[in-house]
């Protein structure tokens, strides 16, 4: 297919075309089966992708990640230097 058509189809699939251009391309596709197939299948792919909610983020996921964050943040804070008034003072020399 012509490169310019490919670019237009790419934009059509992502719904980036202006309304008039969109309609013009659809009109053109009505008499061009190759173009029509490219437009339909590519838009269907984008739609399929957008509707493929992975369902992976559950309440358990939320809680597990939060626990990991708090556990590691706690470790980080334990590793922080103690306030100056709690630090061992070296004996003065000389």
């Amino acid at each position: 297919m012509n490169t310019i058509y490919e670019k237009l189809v790419d934009m059509y699939a992502g719904e980036e075309l202006a309304e008039d251009l969109n309609a013009e391309l659809e009109e053109l596709a009505a008499t061009n089966p190759t173009l029509k197939s490219d437009m339909t299948s590519l838009r269907a792919t984008v739609s399929q992708l957008q509707n493929s909610d992975d369902g992976a983020y559950t309440e358990e996921t939320h809680a597990r990640i939060l626990m990991k964050i708090y556990a590691r943040a706690g470790e980080m804070q334990q590793g922080a230097p103690e306030p100056i008034y709690l630090q061992y003072q070296l004996p003065m020399s000389g």
Binding site: K7, D10, A13, G14, S41, L42, A44, T45, V46, Q48, L49, Q50, N51, S52, D53, D54, G55, A56, Y57, T58, T61, H62, R64, I65, L66, K68, I69, Y70, R72, A73, M76, Q77
Partner: protein, 178 residues
């Protein structure tokens, strides 16, 4: 981004200011705002729940580690996704070395689950340079300019990868099209 409101942006500003002032509890607030999006992104990039959970947690810990440098100037979300992306790349390199398979155990109804696994599998088989724009733009509905910033590429380069990625995904999904 989907569902983003002025309220979210005000909340972000509030939590970042609090974190910047040393209130570590604010990290929980930032996680509430972005945790799900970052997890979804990492899960789709890695295809493995356990790794995605670890990387999501690590992303927010990086925020805590650099809390002194944070500014609520609107670029925080881009920066957050960039951290997640870098961590995903490191993880993918490890997987490549260890040849770990992606996790396909995703819960849900049988039919939807099949669709998810098919899309997830097809995505995971794409080169990362195609997968990233698809995840950010088509799944996370991020604007092209912001996605380009996350990936550190120009907008035309992003669009080129996005368009090629969609065509490559279509080829992979082939038989599942209506």
């Amino acid at each position: 981004m989907p569902g983003e409101t002025n309220h979210d942006s005000l909340q972000e500003k509030r939590w970042l200011t609090a974190l910047n002032e040393g209130d570590t509890k604010a990290l929980g607030g930032i996680y509430e705002l972005y945790g799900e999006r970052i997890f979804r992104y990492t899960f789709r990039m890695l295809g493995n729940r356990s790794d995605a959970e670890d990387i999501t947690a690590e992303t927010f810990l990086r925020v805590l580690r650099r809390s002194g440098e944070l500014r609520a100037d609107g670029a925080f979300r881009t920066w957050l996704f960039r951290i997640a992306r870098n961590l995903c790349i490191d993880k993918m390199r490890q997987h490549k070395l260890m040849e770990l398979p992606p996790d396909a155990s995703i819960a849900g109804t049988e039919e939807k689950s099949t669709l998810r696994i098919t899309v997830q599998q097809a995505l995971s088989e794409l080169p990362a340079e195609y997968r990233e724009p698809l995840v950010l733009c088509d799944l996370e509905e991020m604007a092209a300019r912001e996605a380009a910033e996350v990936l550190k590429i120009s907008v035309p380069a992003l669009k080129s990868r996005l368009y090629r990625g969609r065509r490559a995904l279509r080829d992979k999904l082939g038989g599942t099209q209506e």
